[in-house]
């Protein structure tokens, strides 16, 4: 079993919402990522989602697409990402790490070899953006065999029939994309979200994380009333991009990242009394 299922079980008993920040591995330079991961945990992250750089990040908006380009400029690939996770595990055996990326780099390594290496490196889950359930076997089976959770997206347009299909293959949690659109898009309708999550929960018993469109403490608080986890990506990646690029992250950047996560964490924990 990965670290995800026990984590969500514990948070449920505490009536808390998981905070899952996303950064792209190797952005803006390889030496940043490990320090940033520890800063995220220090700020109160429950899970870290680590983007695997890809040359053609079709489902990502401009902010994260640029992060992929910055990482690729340093030649950061899947092997490097696994090395980063391995290094992270030397001092943090507790925080689950989920990789988010595209299928081609995984197939280039070989699905079985990747699953084995990922497990050895301390990866807990893998979300492959361009791998819908119809195409997910035998990849998902390889992950299950390696005790890695296959994480799937659910969209506003996903039919109940397909939610059930996803529920059969997924473990750990499912990731509800709160908007039609690419990562980093605008707008959020909490009432519609609430209704939609209720529908998903009738067909899927896994914890539901909500991402795409959460940018600050206020939106995170609103979403946490209805979601089991909130995922914050573009806003965080932009915060990192707004700092001058150096070989290593400055203490100012790391403090800012930690404080940003602390702010979201407080907002999530404040919302406990009203959580449905």
């Amino acid at each position: 079993m990965s670290r995800l299922t026990p984590l969500f079980a514990r948070l449920k008993t505490e009536n808390r919402t998981a905070l899952i920040p996303y950064i792209t591995a190797g952005d803006p330079a390889p030496a940043y990522t490990l320090d940033l991961m520890h800063a995220l945990v220090a700020g109160g992250a429950d899970v870290i989602e680590l983007g695997v750089p890809f040359s053609d990040p079709m489902a990502d908006g401009p902010v994260i697409a640029l992060a992929h380009e910055r990482a690729l400029a340093h030649g950061v690939g899947l092997k490097d990402v696994l090395d980063i996770v391995r290094a992270f595990r030397k001092t943090d055996q507790r925080t689950p790490v989920v990789l988010m990326g595209y299928q081609n780099p995984i197939e280039a390594m070989g699905v079985n070899a990747f699953a084995r290496h990922a497990a050895e490196s301390g990866v807990d889950g893998v979300l492959t953006v361009d791998l819908p359930p119809e195409e997910a076997e035998p990849t998902a089976a390889a992950y299950r065999a390696a005790h890695i959770d296959p994480i799937f997206l659910i969209a506003p347009t996903t039919s109940p029939e397909r939610v059930r299909l996803i529920a059969k293959l997924a473990s750990g949690f499912v990731y509800y994309v709160s908007l039609k659109g690419v990562t980093g898009a605008q707008n959020l309708d909490i009432e519609a979200l609430d209704a939609r999550l209720a529908m998903i929960r009738t067909d899927c018993s896994l914890p539901v994380g909500v991402g795409f469109g959460i940018r600050n403490a206020e939106t995170a608080r609103a979403v946490s009333r209805v979601a089991d986890a909130v995922i914050i990506g573009s806003t965080l990646v932009q915060l990192i991009a707004d700092h001058p690029i150096q070989e290593r992250p400055s203490s100012t950047l790391l403090a800012e990242v930690r404080d940003f996560i602390v702010g979201i964490r407080h907002a999530l924990d404040e919302s406990i009394p009203t959580k449905a």
Partner: protein, 415 residues
Amino acid sequence: MQTKDTVPTTPAVEPSVIDFTQFPDEHGRFGEYGGKYVAETLMGAIQELQDAYEHYRTDPDFIREFETDLKDYVGRPSAMYRAARMSDAYGAEIWFKREDLNHTGAHKINNAIGQALLAKRLGKTRIIAETGAGQHGVATATVAARLGLECVIYMGAEDVIRQQPNVYRMKLLGATVVPVESGTRTLKDALNEAMRDWVTNVDNTFYIIGTVAGPHPYPQMVRDFQSVIGREAKAQILEKTGRLPDAIVACVGGGSNAIGIFHDFLADESVALYGAEAGGDGVETGRHAAPLTAGRPGVLHGNRTYLMEDDNGQIMATHSISAGLDYPGVGPEHSWLKDIGRVTYDAITDAEAMSAFHDVMRYEGIIPALESSHAVAYARKLAAKYGEGKIILVNLSGRGDKDINTVAKMEGITL
């Protein structure tokens, strides 16, 4: 119907054992290739498109409207032409299927019309497309203008600079041309950006993909709209020569003109089929766009197919003199046809294509597109092997007026 497990994926299969009309299968696969590798956010739109296409592909009204447009607007059937002086020079009977004579100057219009008619029936008010050289962009802007639909064309910023006349043509047709600055700033990045637009505006927007790639049902749908080329060609060559050709040659970027002319001949074992990929500076230099010749299978832009990728699975920058072939992937049906040995794929260098371009001009008085010149260059090699009396049919997929600046530049001439 054959299932994935019974489809042989090793070469040297007798075409007679395969019913080519039964592919793709219900999962959108050609053997192990194809499929629907898209984000969940797009699955709803893909399903809607698939349902609509399943319905309309056999709908008599839809078929009638499509065929009427091909006849009255595109000017089909396109001519079948015996290239007499070229035949003498090359040493075999060379015939051209004249897709260059279509309205807008290439085969691209066949597919753009088919998809636009579908968009209209789905009630979509906005059309988007990607384009490389600008031929598919022009074809899409053309049909959008005719149907009164809003049109946005995504084009790599590099290509916008290289293909100014087509950019202006699209604007004159009322389209908005968006230069794409991400990645390598070429066709693959334009496709990424068009996908992003589609995900965001899926309610009112129809995405007209220009080639036989992308998620299912695009490879099937585009093939079906383009296969008019092969159906016409078969009837015409039988009428003019009394027999089937010995070989058919087409250029392959994404591969829509090639699938279009091949498809009706797949079951005719006596007809050898050849796809000419863009060899750029030569496959051995690494500067090319020939995934079938020098790539390996992977997943990109919604389908599993042969790709040009590095050891980390990153998609590589491609190179070809022909912007229309400058793409790191290829339609999944081609990947399958390669593996089962039904079609032979080989690369033609920039220099060979350029030489063939001049041959077509001087022997036949036709300006061929640089894309199509790759097919002619391959026919020349084939003719040397085949000899007199053998019939080689070349799909002259587009006209080359758009390319004269590129040709002049290659030869150090400023126009």
